[in-house]
């Protein structure tokens, strides 16, 4: 929503300067067309990480180019499902297999939401350490080395165990279960928010102190900092469901985290209200590489997100025009 205000305010300034009566830019729409089917705003949700902000605004800009009205609403990643089901919110661009699969499936079951396809990005979420830690713990990235390096990662609160800085509890991730199943001598300390998690990571890296934390991509941290993911036994569906699978015969979760899709989801009623828009969202496709570059520009170089989105829209006109369904 913020960006919309800025945009309008910016426009107001430019136009007001030129003429006393300013004409708002008309949407660049094709000739006669079947969309927009409705002028009601499509409400897209914004969460608390930059990548999601960018994907949502890119998709939103495309929808605006198609002539739709778009509103951006701040909503929590998991809390938004209640809004999507009731029709208060309409589109959420990024549901990660790694963290949102259960919530997504539960929501789809109600019949009030529909899946809007994969976004093309692949999520990686795993235990991560900065490259310099390897000097003190040469056995990494193999997970079996973790127990030899407990002292390296220990902290007063967790002593004699090592300290692993996990994501917010609301992200799920099964880290507490993983520690138990793999017999790791570590304590999971959950950061309260994304911000707190990366604040601690950055401060440890500034001091070149060992740290073991939950890092995910697409995100600026693995772009900015040199480091590696811990290699756990590879994830399979059986690992999470079947206790007998894997190194620990009695417990599930004795493997790494799933790497997987990032999907868009929408309010079921929108299927009839804005069919062309939903089709365009289904066509949305972007790579980790492209997204990583944009996140880096915003979070590391401090380029305003509006500028980054506009640049992308201009440079990739063919790409996004390909998403727009034919008449």
């Amino acid at each position: 929503m913020q960006a919309a205000f800025h945009k309008l305010a910016g426009r107001a300034g430019v136009f007001a300067g030129a003429t006393a009566i300013a004409l708002a830019a008309a949407p660049i729409a094709a000739q006669a067309q079947s969309y927009p089917e409705s002028d009601d705003p499509i409400r897209m949700t914004i969460h608390d990480w930059t990548g999601q902000y960018l994907t949502t605004h890119i998709m939103g800009s495309v929808l605006e180019e198609m002539g739709y009205t778009v509103e951006y609403v701040q909503a929590d990643y998991l809390a938004q499902f209640a809004g999507l089901e009731s029709g208060d919110l309409h589109v959420a661009m990024e549901i990660w297999e790694t963290t949102g699969k259960d919530a997504l499936e539960a929501s789809l079951e109600t019949g009030d939401t529909v899946e809007l396809g994969e976004t093309g990005m692949r999520a990686i979420e795993e235990w991560w350490y900065p490259a310099y830690v390897k000097e003190e713990c040469p056995g990494l990235p193999d997970w079996k080395a973790l127990n030899d390096c407990v002292e390296v990662f220990a902290a007063p609160e967790t002593h004699p165990n090592g300290r692993y800085l996990g994501g917010p509890v609301t992200w799920g991730g099964k880290d507490d279960e993983r520690v138990e199943a793999l017999g790791l001598d570590y304590e999971v300390v959950h950061a309260g928010t994304d911000a707190a998690l990366f604040a601690e990571l950055q401060s440890a890296i500034q001091r070149k102190e060992p740290i073991l934390a939950w890092v995910y991509t697409p995100h600026w941290a693995p772009i900015k900092f040199e480091g590696e993911w811990v290699e756990f036994p590879k994830y399979t569906a059986e690992c999470y469901e079947d206790p007998s699978w894997g190194v620990n015969p009695d417990m599930a979760y004795d493997c790494g985290k799933p790497r997987g899709w990032i999907k868009a989801v929408g309010w079921a009623g929108g299927e009839e209200k804005w069919p062309a828009a939903y089709q365009a969202i289904r066509n949305f496709d972007i790579t980790n590489q492209q997204m990583g570059e944009m996140i880096g520009k915003v979070d590391l170089d401090g380029v305003p997100s509006g500028t980054v989105i506009d640049q992308w829209m201009q440079a990739n006109r063919d790409t996004w025009q390909g998403w727009v369904p034919a008449e």
């Binding site: 913020q2 300013a22 004409l23 008309a26 701040q74 809390a79 809004g83 009731s86 707190a196 401060s203």
Partner: protein, 670 residues
């Protein structure tokens, strides 16, 4: 002199007589016995899951019914709440159009007429003019400085979005609060019903009722505004009741003799004569509304709160600080303006008749003239429309570098202090509280309530404690109690000496006042992230954040209490040959103690209200429970955990309040 006479000051408080000690000793013995027995019977140590009352499921179920099925026949409950939301959205949209985004008039087809928002210079100018009219040049200067800051530091647009929601939420909060207050004033029954509700509204963490608010009023700025109103309204209700009650009997008598009807009595006599006290409530509503800015932005309010959150998410601490200070600056200017309006001595009506229309309405005419003038001028001078970017300042990188410098160079010292405190104080205290058997703790608190305030208080406290256990929140509540307990002790250890110094010296007093004002209005999230960078995620960081926030009442009440000791008593003590430190230790501190204890009480309240914020750092307590509930949209979980936080607060409040009251009586002060 009288205060020190035998009748006024008993030789020793009753508490310390041998007979008075017996129940305490008994309760402690039972606690110890239960602790030892805990080894055999596990249910003593941790409340068994099987006994947990599924209250939160019931609440969630009730909520589901309310949202999906409840109906009044013609329309459903949800339609009613949505209609209400629509009603509130209207003024908000108008404010947003005026202040921030302008309005695009569709002219058919692809053309549209864009009407720009008010000029930044106009808004600033109008407020400065108003400040000068209702106050003095100093106030005008302050307002100019504050709004100038918003423009120069590039915060203007966000600040106007925030200001818009404040401009709607504050009047609704004031009018609603006053209406409820009047109701409570007129009917004792209404007052009795209101009091516990107000207690809960003030102590249940905001996150706990955000979920039901989202369900009922939809996602978006209006829900954020409604949550703000719920949070900010209670002081207005209380102040209204109090203010109306303290209107002198003579004034009421006069009104009756003049033949006022009930309505005239209220509007022409009661409210005008209580105006000054009512403004205290108005001030509180403004301050609390601005306190909510960050939380409101989490559910879609946008504005400055959103800027603070996004900057900190990117770890751009300086930018976060700039946006945070913008909130403080808004709070300060609105607060001072409202105070000036309250203290203004308006020209008596019979003199106004002689003045021309222009003189009588100079304030409003001036505001309109400035707004209109700059608005029109801005069509020719775009720099007036939106503050030019090249004139903005950015101190962001400076602060980022500062934090990095501290992090790299001072970390070893900080880390040593942290580890020592963790190992020797925090962790042992946490274990003590978490491992204490719950029936024993409940008994000890009940005895405390009974001895201090009588059987009724004892029973209340015991019931509240048992509720926490029965709903399955015991362990988390104890972690909360531990975090708050440690932080309150620390806040008092730092705050009381500062308060003592402030009471002794005018200059220290002024500096301390300004510092604590800033600490309270600056969104805590701004300093939370640097604290995490220096002290890592965990209890220690949470403790520092809570302490910083809860410091204010410790300083304020100590200062106020010491200043309140009557000069006769001090004179008498001096004449009997007290040296300065004796005067402080033997006379002033003991006499100010009841007041200082109220400060402790407020410190505890502040600490508890910070719990939810510290959940954003990562703690495993009730605050986190409430936060999880918010993200899972679980009404029951959030409300029940929230009520547990409220009960912790109420237990502390009642016990300390009763003690303070009793002590005041013993000292002959009340």
């Amino acid at each position: 002199m009288t205060a020190l006479s035998d009748a006024g000051l008993p030789a020793r408080p009753r508490l310390l007589r041998p007979a008075g000690l017996l129940p305490w000793a008994g309760a402690l013995a039972v606690l110890a016995a239960l602790w030892l027995a805990g080894g055999q019977a596990g249910w003593l140590n941790s409340y068994p899951d099987a006994w947990i009352l599924p209250l939160r499921d019931w609440v969630s179920e009730a909520m589901r019914w309310l949202v999906k099925d409840a109906s009044f026949g013609l329309f459903t409950f949800k339609e009613l709440t949505r209609a209400f939301a629509g009603l509130l959205d209207l003024p908000l949209q108008i404010c947003l159009i005026l202040l921030s985004r302008g309005f695009a008039v569709p002219l058919g087809g692809d053309a549209g007429l864009l009407i720009p928002p008010l000029s930044w210079l106009g808004v600033t100018g109008a407020l400065v003019w108003a400040a000068w009219r209702v106050g003095d040049a100093k106030l005008a200067g302050l307002v100019a400085g504050c709004f100038g800051y918003l423009a120069v530091f590039g915060q203007w647009n966000s600040a106007m979005v925030t200001l818009s929601s404040i401009l709607v939420a504050v009047p609704v909060g004031i009018l609603g609060g006053a209406a409820l207050g009047i109701l409570g004033y007129r009917s004792r029954a209404a007052e009795r019903a209101l009091t516990p509700v107000l207690d809960l509204m003030q102590t249940v963490p905001v996150f706990a009722y955000l979920v039901p608010v989202l369900f009922l009023f939809g996602f978006g700025p209006v829900s954020a505004m409604i949550a703000t109103i719920i949070y900010a309204m209670p002081p207005m209700v209380r102040v209204t009741m109090l203010a109306l009650r303290s209107v002198p009997a003579e004034v009421l008598e006069f009104g009756r003799m003049a033949g006022c009807s009930r309505r005239q009595m209220l509007w022409k006599v009661l409210l005008p004569s209580a105006r000054h006290s009512l403004m205290v409530g108005v001030n509180q509503v403004i301050m609390l509304s601005l306190n909510m800015v960050i939380i409101a932005s989490m559910i879609g309010a946008g504005g400055l709160g959103h800027d603070v959150l996004t900057s900190l998410r990117r770890l751009q601490i300086g930018d976060g600080l700039e946006a945070g200070v913008a909130i403080t600056v808004l709070a300060i200017s609105l607060d001072r303006l409202s105070q000036a309006i309250a203290n203004r001595t308006s020209t008596p009506v019979h003199l106004q008749a002689d003045q021309s229309y222009a003189v009588r309405h100079a304030t409003w005419l001036g505001i309109v003239a400035i707004l209109a003038g700059t608005y029109l001028l801005a069509f020719f001078l775009p720099a007036l429309r939106s503050y030019p970017d090249w004139l903005t300042l950015d101190t962001g990188p400076l602060f980022d570098d500062l934090v990095q410098w501290i992090n790299v160079h001072a970390y070893s010292v900080l880390d040593a202090v942290k580890s020592w405190l963790l190992i020797h104080v925090l962790i042992p205290f946490k274990r003590l509280l978490v491992e204490a058997p719950w029936p024993g703790v409940a008994l000890l608190l009940a005895v405390a309530g009974w001895r201090i305030g009588g059987v009724r208080l004892g029973l209340t406290v015991a019931l509240l404690t048992v509720f926490i256990a029965v709903t399955g929140n015991w362990e988390k509540a104890m972690v909360s109690a531990y975090l708050c307990g440690i932080s309150v002790v620390l806040a008092m250890a730092i705050g009381v000496p500062i308060g003592v110094a402030a009471a002794a010296n005018e200059r220290v007093h002024r500096i301390a006042q300004n510092t604590v004002d800033t600490l309270q209005t600056l969104p805590s999230f701004v300093y939370l992230i640097p604290v995490v960078m220096l002290f890592q995620v965990g209890d220690f960081s949470a403790m520092i954040a809570i302490t910083a926030y809860a410091l204010a009442p410790a300083v304020r009440y100590t200062d106020h209490g010491l200043r309140g000791v009557s000069s006769e008593v001090i004179e008498a003590a001096r004449m009997s040959g007290c040296r300065p430190w004796q005067l402080l230790w033997k006379v002033r501190l003991p006499l100010a103690l009841p007041e200082i204890m109220l400060g402790v009480n407020q410190t505890i309240m502040m600490a508890l209200s910070m719990l939810v914020i510290t959940a954003l750092v990562g703690t495993r307590d009730l605050g986190q429970e409430v936060y999880i509930a918010l993200t899972r949209a679980d009404t029951g979980l959030g409300l029940v955990a929230g009520v547990c936080v409220a009960f912790l607060a109420i237990i502390a409040d009642r016990l300390i309040g009763a003690w303070s009251h009793k002590r005041k009586q013993e000292l002959g002060l009340a």
